[in-house]
């Protein structure tokens, strides 16, 4: 490994991770609100959850404690369960309607 030039910090500061996490969270939220395909909307939610994971891990690194790392595992397990159920629901919707456009799913209106 090449030695780092003098003056370059050896570790990325925690705030950078937090800013990245916030950006990812906002991208996920925007994707949820503006995307029209159900699968993409679902991916946006996963992105938001992973942004949260990044925050947890960054904070745990800052505190030098293990709990934040463990929380991120909890989140991953829950996200996996959610994906299993969510994709099954999306599949039944597709089977009944032959569409994945979110604007077409509107049989119930005022």
């Amino acid at each position: 490994m090449l030695p780092l030039p003098p003056g370059v910090p050896t570790a990325v500061p925690v705030t950078y991770y937090l800013i990245l996490s916030a950006i990812l969270f906002v991208i996920g939220g925007a994707g949820f609100l503006y995307r029209k395909n159900i699968i993409t909307v679902f991916m946006s939610i996963e992105l938001m959850l992973n942004a949260v994971n990044l925050s947890f891990v960054a904070f745990a690194y800052k505190f030098n404690k293990a709990d934040g790392h463990i929380y991120s595992f909890f989140v991953m397990v829950v996200a996996a369960a959610e994906a299993a159920v969510g994709l099954a629901i999306i599949l039944t919707v597709f089977k009944n309607r032959q569409t994945l456009e979110i604007d077409d799913i509107d049989s119930m209106k005022l």
Binding site: F32, I45, L49, K65, Y71, F74, A81, V85, I89, M108
Partner: protein, 488 residues
């Protein structure tokens, strides 16, 4: 490794209701897989027995209050109250589901298994003392109810209901979780009491905007779960599209559990910054009441109307949370108990009446129900009067204690506007009574089958509970007052 790493028997005892529910849920799933073709499923009976056992366990666990599993769970009177409430809602749901499931040739075992799993999450929510447990409880409860909302998977409305519930529910959870991450980052703990202590001890040093942002993110998550404005849009579609017994369940059980944890987190953990969130919640409570009541006025579908009504009732409960006092907490508990009975009852009345594929779910379809089925119509009358808040019903005392607590906390305008709102609400509940009793029987009432035994039991039980709470409110209120001191 610390010496006290192994949990004691007492700690397992404190989560016994969840253990019973989980084991029985898994067992039912297995039995269903082993069941032979054409053999009748007895999952309903097993579920009923499980719920009774879990209720006994919840009462016994409530008898020895205390923390468990390194403060992850704290069993107190408040938690026990809501635990019992969600289990009773579960019981009523089981009784009202059987005939509906048989009529639609649905997978009965899986339904009850999912119901039990959902109750595990809600029961855990009621006693969780840790934001991570709150997250996991919400998810256990939600993931099972996403499937239940779309249980009849060939029905288009069921699919749509499940999809909307799932997408918006997960979106809300992500917000909640991001709030938890920030709180963890600011205070270094996710324990609810720990957060309170951290905020109290170094309030000047704590970055208030960051705490406020975290609280706001969590507020978004909770507001979704209790269907408060501006995050209420999913509720009407989901309640309308889901099977009627599931709508009954979702509008009472998960909502009560979500309110329990909402109250606990905001009054305990965020109590030190109450002056920051109270004005926001004031506006949210008022907007929720107004939107719920005014949107309900024009509905033609009963389930959709009840969905808007449940939004309005969430607004009343929020008023009690804004009051931020022990009387307010007791009012939250009493109101959610009385609301659960009247709402489950109202949904149960249409479970059998709606027929296959929920053909008759419009308010006009109830025409002449009073002549054809006086029992169902009388029970429905009790629920509607209670939802309005007429004296001698649970709804009256529920509203009375909420607005009393609000007045004691000097929320005069909120009280006045809330009372005006409940006057508006009288219109759409009374309309159902008029249609039921004064209109000539139409096609729906002429061909209506007799309600099944289970549904009748639910109708009678909920009506009885509504009246008992309305005549002897002290039965529940005394307990609520004793256990309203959730701030430790």
């Amino acid at each position: 490794m610390p010496t006290n790493f192994m949990p004691s028997t007492e700690e397992y005892f404190r989560i016994l209701p969840e253990l019973i529910l989980t084991l029985a849920g898994v067992l039912i799933m297995f039995l269903e897989a082993l069941r032979k073709e054409g053999q009748k499923s007895n999952a309903g009976g097993v579920t009923l027995a499980t719920l009774v056992a879990a209720l006994i366990a919840a009462v016994m666990a409530g008898g020895s209050p205390g923390p468990a599993f390194h403060d992850m769970v704290f069993v107190d009177g408040f938690g026990t109250f809501f635990r019992i409430l969600v289990l009773v809602v579960g019981l009523l749901t089981v009784l009202s589901s059987q005939s509906y499931l048989e009529r639609h040739d649905a997978q009965i075992g899986e339904y009850y298994g999912l119901l039990l799993f959902s109750l595990v999450g809600q029961s855990l929510l009621c006693v969780s003392n840790e934001l991570m447990m709150v997250f996991i409880g919400i998810e256990i409860s939600s993931i099972a109810s996403y499937i239940m909302a779309g249980f009849l998977r060939d029905d288009k409305r069921n699919n749509e209901s499940a999809l909307k519930y799932f997408l918006l529910g997960s979106f809300a959870t992500a917000f909640l979780l991001y709030g938890v991450a920030w709180i963890y980052g600011i205070t270094g703990t996710t324990n609810i009491d720990g957060i309170r202590q951290a905020l109290l001890n170094n309030l000047p040093a704590v970055p208030l905007p960051a705490v406020g942002a975290a609280a706001a993110l969590m507020l978004v998550g909770f507001a979704f779960k209790v269907s408060a404005v501006p995050f209420q849009a999913w509720a009407p579609d989901v309640y309308q599209g889901a099977p009627a017994p599931v709508s009954a369940f979702m509008s009472a059980g998960p909502k009560a559990a979500a309110f329990a944890v909402f109250t606990r987190v905001f009054l305990t953990a965020f109590g030190p910054i109450a002056n920051r969130w109270e004005p926001i919640l004031w506006i949210v409570a008022l907007a929720t009441m107004i939107v719920g009541n005014f949107a309900a006025l024009t509905q033609t579908n009963i389930k959709r109307m009840l969905a808007y009504s449940s939004i309005a009732h969430a607004g009343y409960v929020l008023v009690a949370i804004v009051a931020h006092s022990e009387a307010g907490t007791a009012a939250v508990m009493f109101y959610l108990a009385s609301y659960a009975f009247m709402n489950v009852g109202a949904f149960a009345a249409i479970v059998d009446y709606s027929r296959r594929n929920e053909k008759f779910v419009n308010i006009s379809d109830l025409a002449g129900l009073g002549q054809k089925q006086p029992f169902t119509a009388s029970m429905m009358t009790i629920y509607m009067l209670s939802l309005i808040g007429v004296p001698l019903t649970a709804g009256f005392f529920g509203k009375f204690y909420i607005f009393k607590a609000a007045l004691e906390s000097d929320l005069i305008w909120l009280t006045v506007l809330g009372l005006l709102n409940s006057a508006v609400a009288a219109y759409y509940y009374l309309r159902i009574l008029v249609v039921m009793w004064m209109h000539e029987p139409g096609e729906a009432a002429e061909s209506a089958p007799e309600a099944s035994f289970g549904v009748k039991a639910v109708l009678f039980g909920s009506a009885l509970a509504t009246l008992v709470l309305g005549i002897l409110p002290s039965l529940v209120l005394d307990f609520a007052n004793r256990s309203a001191n959730i701030i430790k």
